[in-house]
């Protein structure tokens, strides 16, 4: 499953984005990756989902295959657990690379998984992605925030102002 390129993407824009990405990722030394596979072997997603492989992702970045990556659904699969960055014997961070790729894909107007719209809608509606949930205790019972002595969670005071700000952020993210 590959996310399709939106119909009206300007190819030059993609090229521009690629350059941007190479520059930003360059600081992460993608080109000195040894392709050892320590990131992917520690990655909990790689194990479960075929086609997601942080090592190969870095290899593609190093070979300049950015546009291909932007269109690849795989970049949205990462759970951002940071194990790849932790394990890498070098200073390379597939996690950071993925974040940049996601941002650029969004700027390029490429499709992204619907769940992000749910997130945004949740934020726009409530001020957070989801309602606080009870946590499972080691003994099997469930504990609420109150039971743990934690303060309650409140949404933004003025929802309209908040929404305005969030919308501005979203617009800025599109790079327009």
């Amino acid at each position: 499953m590959v996310i399709r390129l939106s119909s009206d993407v300007d190819q030059r824009q993609v090229e521009f984005i690629s350059l941007m990405l190479q520059k930003s990722v360059g600081g992460m030394h993608a080109e000195v990756c040894d392709q050892c596979g320590k990131c992917s072997s520690a990655c909990p997603v790689s194990k479960e989902i075929e086609g997601f492989n942080p090592r190969q992702l870095i290899a593609r970045v190093a070979l300049g295959k950015i546009d291909e990556l932007l269109a690849d659904e795989a970049i949205w699969t990462c759970t951002t657990c940071l194990k790849c960055r932790e394990r890498c014997p070098e200073e390379i961070s597939p996690y950071d690379v993925i974040l940049v790729l996601r941002n650029l894909a969004y700027r390029a107007g490429l499709n992204y998984p619907g769940v992000y719209d749910d997130f945004i809608n949740g934020i726009l509606e409530r001020g957070f992605i989801s309602e606080p949930q009870e946590v499972r205790a080691r003994g099997g019972g469930r504990l609420s925030r109150e039971a743990l002595g934690l303060p309650g969670v409140n949404g933004p005071k003025d929802m309209a102002v908040f929404r305005g700000i969030v919308e501005k952020i979203i617009e800025a993210g599109k790079g327009n």
């Binding site: 392709q35 320590k38 194990k47 014997p89």
Partner: protein, 434 residues
């Protein structure tokens, strides 16, 4: 008559340099820090790619050193001061007390047998225990007992003295003092070798927490017939025979973040050798080597790897494992890895995991470099005068380096270099002789 030559370090490189010089008629002082010459090579089981038994080929050279009329071996000794220049170095050596009279001890071993104090046996990589009075290993040269004062009941608590009572030769001498020896030499050869990287800082591999995650050097003792298990692959945790073994390459090497950026040169081959040793013990064993690049650059190496694969069925998987986990009940280990050539991310259950750790410089190099006036590189290895044109000379004329004290290398390269430094020393002796 030319002045003698000082060789610092009694491993295979130091031994070769000493023998080359002594054979040509020059006097040699061979200074060794530990109670016996032999170095790391004496601890190895076999050597790649010929599978020669390491101590079997080294022991005759060690014996030759001890019998050679031109070689004086100073064990338990360290160089603490050097002045002068080529042709005329004045050297101070401190010899730690052995607490045993070298001229009387016959190496019979009765003292160790009776000694009540047990200590971790460093020579067996801590896999077993030795006594406070001990002979470091059966083929030690000189074959003389030594008291480890830090662990001796007499030295620590003023009690015991059993060794003195049982020694048939009356060789025990608690009163021995450190001795200062002055040497006058024409040149100095440094051959202090290397040590193994401690992989404890790589938490993901569990070394230090999981008993069955061991280093390659520990494995050498485990698989050696003269080791703590008599050569049987009883894993440390529960003594179960290890039939499924994984080797992890590049532990502490090829990494800028943790460990060292350089390739340690020998691990791919020693891992292959160790894998073959397991297969020789039990051909049905399941042995996998997780590697990054197979370094087969030496003579006969590729053929050796080919044979390990085709004849012995050793498996090679390209990929650096991300984690090692342990089942607390069975003690079995699970290796998380990616086969980078297929992109498959998988787990492998093994009985024993061997970490092929990189060669690193000795911490005492720093002090020795100050004494000798030599430069160290970024990683603590002695620096060549020029890595291309003068690989075995140093910034100080008359002082030469060979073997792993200036970077990882294998035995033949160390031996060839040792002969090279012997040539340099012979040239110097002639130039400044008479």
């Amino acid at each position: 008559m030319s002045k003698p030559v000082l060789v610092i370090g009694g491993g295979v490189a130091g031994i070769q340099a000493a023998l080359d010089l002594a054979d040509r008629g020059l006097k040699v002082h061979l200074v060794e820090k530990s109670p016996s010459i032999g170095g790391v090579m004496a601890q190895l089981d076999k050597t790649f790619p010929t599978m020669d038994c390491s101590i079997c080929i080294l022991a005759p050279k060690m014996i030759e050193c001890s019998r050679h009329p031109n070689i004086t071996i100073h064990t338990l000794s360290q160089v603490t001061g050097v002045s002068g220049g080529p042709g005329d170095f004045k050297v101070k050596v401190i010899k730690e007390p052995r607490s045993v009279d070298e001229s009387k001890c016959t190496g019979c071993g009765i003292c160790s047998e009776k000694c009540p104090a047990k200590v971790k046996d460093e020579w067996q990589e801590g896999l077993t225990e030795r006594k406070a009075i001990y002979i470091i290993f059966p083929q030690a040269v000189p074959l003389i007992a030594c008291i480890d004062r830090d662990n001796c009941l007499y030295f620590q608590k003023g009690i015991c003295q059993i060794c003195s009572k049982v020694c048939p030769a009356g060789a025990i001498d608690y009163e021995q003092k450190a001795e200062e020896i002055d040497l006058d030499v024409s040149s100095i050869i440094v051959a202090t070798g290397f040590q193994e990287y401690d992989p404890s800082e790589l938490g993901e591999y569990g070394y230090g927490r999981f008993e069955d995650v061991i280093t390659a050097k520990e494995f050498e003792r485990l698989v050696c017939a003269s080791g703590p298990t008599g050569g049987h692959l009883n894993r440390p945790s529960d003594g179960k025979i290890a039939h499924r073994v994984a080797f992890v390459q590049c532990v502490g090497s090829r990494s800028h973040k943790k460990g060292y950026p350089y390739c340690s040169s020998v691990c791919c081959m020693y891992a292959t050798k160790e894998a073959v040793l397991i297969k020789e013990h039990e051909p049905a064993s399941d042995v996998t080597i997780f590697y990054m690049d197979l370094k087969v650059f030496g003579q006969g190496f590729q053929e050796f790897v080919d044979r390990a694969q085709s004849h012995w069925g050793v498996k090679y998987v390209r990929g650096r494992p991300g984690e090692i986990r342990r089942n607390p009940v069975t003690k079995d280990l699970t290796i998380w890895y990616e086969n980078t050539e297929t992109g498959e991310v998988a787990e492998k259950e093994v009985d024993l995991a061997v970490l092929c750790t990189t060669m690193i410089s000795r911490p005492e190099n720093k002090e020795l470099a100050d004494v000798l006036g030599l430069e160290l590189d970024e990683w603590g290895f002695f620096e060549s005068l020029d890595p291309l044109m003068n690989p075995i000379e140093t910034n100080r004329p008359g002082i030469y380096i060979c073997g792993c004290c200036h970077g990882p290398r294998d035995i033949p390269e160390s031996v060839a270099e040792a002969s090279g430094t012997a040539a340099c020393a012979a040239e110097t002796a002639r130039r400044y002789g008479q």
